[in-house]
Structures are given as C-alpha cells and as structure tokens.
C-alpha cells in the first residue's frame, strides 16, 4: 500500500475516532455525574462554593506537603464518588506534564532559580553573554528550582483535579443552574448552555460528513485534494451553523425571549450539604494551621 493511501485512511479514521471519542467522553462524564456517589448527592451550589474554597487554598499554599494533603483529599473524594481511579488520574496527569512541565522546566536550572546545585548539566570555560542572555559557567539543577517546580506542578495538578472532579460529579445543566443561583451573569450562562447543547449536533454532522467520505473513498487521493475537501466541508459546517443560529434566535424570539435569561432550579439544601460545608471549613482551617507551622 502506498504512503498516500495510508495517509488518507489515517486522516479519515483518526478524525472519525476523535469525533466519536468526544461524544463518548461527554456521555461517560454525564453517566458519572448520575452515579449515587458522595459528591453527586450534594447540592451543586454548595459544591461550587466549597470547591472554590479548596482551589483558593491550593493556589495560596506554599508548602508541598500541604498541597499534597489537598490532592489526597481530592483522590479520596473521587473514590467516594465512584469515579474510577485510573480514569480520574489519567484525565489529569496525562496532560499536566505536557503543559506545566514545559513551563516549569526552565525554572529548575540555576540561571532562572539560583541556589544549592544538585546536578551539573553543562560547563563553559567562562560565563556566556549572548545579548540579553547571561549564562553562568556551570549550568546546574538547583534544589530551590526543583522544589519550586514540584510545588508548581502539584499545585496545577491539584487544581485541575478539583475542577475535573467537580465537572465529573455534577451534570452540566445543574452546574449552570447552580452558577445562575449564585448570581453569575445569566446571559453568559445561557450562552454556555447553548454552546454545550449544539456542539454535539455539529460533532454529529461532522462525523456523518467523514463517514460519507469514507463510504465513497475508493482509490488514491492526494494530500491537496484532501485539504480542499476539508476546507470545503469546514465552510459548509460554518454556513450550516450560521443558518441554525438564525433559526434558533427566531425560535427564542417566538417563545418570548426578551433579552433576560431566567432559570428554574429544584435544588434542596439538606443536612449532608451542611455537613460537607462544615467539613470543608474545618479542612481549610487545618490547611491554614499547617501553613503557619512552617
């Protein structure tokens, strides 16, 4: 099989797999949010406020041990909420090294964070001065730099874990209604809701376009033809989304839209919510004490 044919197959199959995966992920996420777990049973309003408190505690904490305690709590909460542990860990830690690692990496060296050298990476005869760049004669990884990077990565990992846990244990619609109840801008919430609703429609349309192409893909096509096809279909999708958005606006007008968004919620604040909030307050108090014990 020639390279062109292979590329074609991979291009269509990879895109199709990506589109299917996007829907699958969303369906799974909604399924976890409906499980009878610890966090799923709590009032989303209380959950948002307490998770925000935990996020602030994570952001303000300067000790690795303290952030590790918050992370441990996050993992315990995920397990108590019946989120599969490996799924939860992979969802966070597959991407953290990629993004935060790239940011934190330079900070471990002595030319960014001076301090006690641990490992020498490279030496020069004399310090290097390239325009604005000044490098010492020996480039080393420092203890202070390494510690700073560890704290940074764990802080980002814990923050992302908390956010992912909140989303996995709360249905998107309830999350939006809870934000409305907490006086977030209602029009913005309406737009988020509509975006979430229509993104799946367009994923489905895109999936069907790729399936239609695959069903007719006989013989070889070159990269240029594929690029043309892709740009044509992107244009088609944009055109379709514009037409649909016009129709949606007309439907909104017809149903009485007057520029104000209103939300109906049936949230009930019960004793487990009070217990969860009391626990979070106590936990954050404990975090402050641990920070001061430095």
């Amino acid at each position: 099989m020639c390279r062109k044919t292979l590329w074609r197959t991979n291009f269509i199959d990879r895109t199709l797999a990506g589109l299917t995966e996007a829907i699958k992920q969303a369906v799974f996420a909604e399924r976890y949010a409906r499980l009878p777990g610890l966090l799923q049973g709590l009032d989303p309003r209380g959950k948002i406020v307490t998770f925000l408190a935990l996020l602030i505690a994570t952001a303000l904490s300067r000790q690795l041990g303290v952030i590790a305690v918050i992370y441990l709590l996050t993992v315990i909460l995920a397990m108590a909420s019946r989120i599969p542990l490996m799924f939860f860990l992979k969802r966070v830690w597959l991407f953290i090294p990629l993004f935060t690692g790239a940011i934190a990496l330079p900070a471990i060296f002595n030319f960014i964070t001076p301090g006690q050298p641990l490992v020498t990476i490279m030496t020069f005869a004399v310090p290097v001065n390239w325009g604005p760049v000044h490098l010492p004669a020996a480039i080393t990884i420092t203890a202070q730099g390494l510690r700073g990077a560890e704290i940074f990565i764990l802080r980002v990992g814990t923050s992302v874990s908390l956010s992912v846990l909140l989303i996995l244990t709360t249905e998107w619609a309830k999350l939006l209604r809870a934000l409305a109840a907490l006086h977030f801008p209602r029009t913005a919430i309406l737009i988020f809701g509509m975006t979430y609703r229509y993104i799946f429609l367009f994923i489905k349309v895109a999936e069907e376009m790729f399936l239609a192409r695959r069903s007719r893909a006989v013989g070889r096509t070159n990269v240029r033809e594929q690029q043309n096809w892709l740009s044509y279909r992107l244009g088609f999708l944009l055109n379709r989304s514009t037409k649909l958005s016009n129709e949606v606006y007309l439907a909104m007008l017809s149903r009485g839209w007057n520029g104000q968004a209103y939300f109906l919620d049936d949230f009930r604040f019960r004793w487990p919510d009070a217990a969860w909030i009391a626990f979070t307050i106590a936990f954050c108090g404990g975090i402050i004490i641990l920070e001061k014990m430095k």
Binding site: L201, L250, R255, G256, Y262
Partner: protein
Amino acid sequence: MSGTIFKVNDLSYTYPGGLAGLHDINFSVSRGENIAFLGVNGSGKSTLLKLIDGLYFPNKGTIAAFGEPLTEQQLRDEEFAFAFRRRVGFLFQDPDSQLFLPTVWQEVAFSPLQMGLAKEEAAEKTNAALKALGIEKLKDRIPYQLSEGEKKKVALASLLALDPEVWLLDEPTANLDPRTQDWVIEFILSLAEKGKTLVVAIHELEVAKVIAHRAYILGEDHSLAAQGDPREILQDEELLLRVNLMHRRRHCHPGLTHRHPYQHSHQHPRK
C-alpha cells in the same frame, strides 16, 4: 367561530439577496379555525408562518394580528410583544432549532419563565406539559440524546407549557416514523377540539384533509394557487399536478405495474 385572528393583505416578501419568497398573498384566519397551507418545498410555507409570527416582516402588504397591525415597530412595544407571544406559539420544522437549552426540563420551562410566571407556577406548568405528552422520564435528558419523535414531543410540550390560543405548526409530521406521525395528528386534533386556532404548513395531502377546515395551496411562483375545503380542492388532480403536489408516477401492485397520478381515485385497469 368568531373574531379574526390574522388578516393578511397583498403580502409580498423577498429574502435578503433578492430571492422571491411570497407574492401577493391574501387570507384571513378566524378564531378556532384550522387552516392548512400546502405547497412543495421552497414555495414559501415556512416563510409565511414566520411572517404571521412576527419573526419576518413583509416588503409589501400588511398583516394584522388580533385586530392590531403586526409590524416591527409594534413588536418593539414590550406590552404588545408580551401579549402576542403569550397568545401565539410556533412549532419549528427542525426541532433542533427550537430546542436550544441543555435539558428537556429547562426547554419546557423556558417560555413560562420568559412570560414572567412565578417559579412555582412555571414548574407546575412544565410538569403538567411533560405529563400531558407522556415524556416525564425525558426531563433530565439532553436534546442530542433524543430521537426525532422525542424531540418533536418536547418541542410540542414547550408550547403546551404556555398553552397559546394560536398554534403555528411548520411541517409537524416531517421526518417522523408512522406511529409518531399518527400520534402528532391525534395531538393536533385534540388541540382543535379544545378550540385552538391552528395554522399548519404541510405537504402531506392526506394529513391536511384530516386536520384542516380550510386549505390554501401555494404554487411554485410563491403566490396562492387555490383555497377551499381541503376535501374538495385536494380532489382536483389538475390543480395538484400544476402545483407539483402530485405526480404521474410508476408504481406496483401485485401482478401490475402502471403509471398514473398517485391518488387512487379510480379502478385499476386490468392488464
């Protein structure tokens, strides 16, 4: 039947870009009347419904609703717009246009909340509408997880929650399986029994005969080609052939394949 709901005089509409939409349309709709607009795709049925719902505005001619002119300026008056939207509901042809919120529950509650009902009352009306259509179990579902039939029921429930006196229905039976089509027809007939005014855009002749007191036929030139009792004008084969609502086509019977207008109003000749 008393009182005029809509009065349309010499209406013409051209789409942005110059494409003809409707030409010299005249008709009126009385309270409690069930009207069907028939025509092929692109004849202007949906556009006409949007015009009488105050979503589009004519380039020429006038529309009056409930005795008041229906104009862009008039609909800027909040009081008029509120009263008009409260009395007129519109079922869009594509439920994906109409169902724009993340869950069925929010969708059905949208209009009662927009109309300023108290939360308790809005919740009550939402539950009642879901129950009336037998879709309570769908209330937490996301629209993309619904079948076409379920979407149509949710769209109807979203109108029922407001219980308007006029229902504008754009192709209510399109893209549905036969069972759901029958269900929708039954639902429309139940609205008619309650005295609701119905204006239905449709191209299924048999459905029009069942649900309408009066039918208007739009030709491919975007003007009215005929009007009258649907059971009478829909027997006019020459008219239906002219407006492309009927075709001479080949079809099969056991032991016989022949070609004639699709309505079987005559005995088949023996081969």
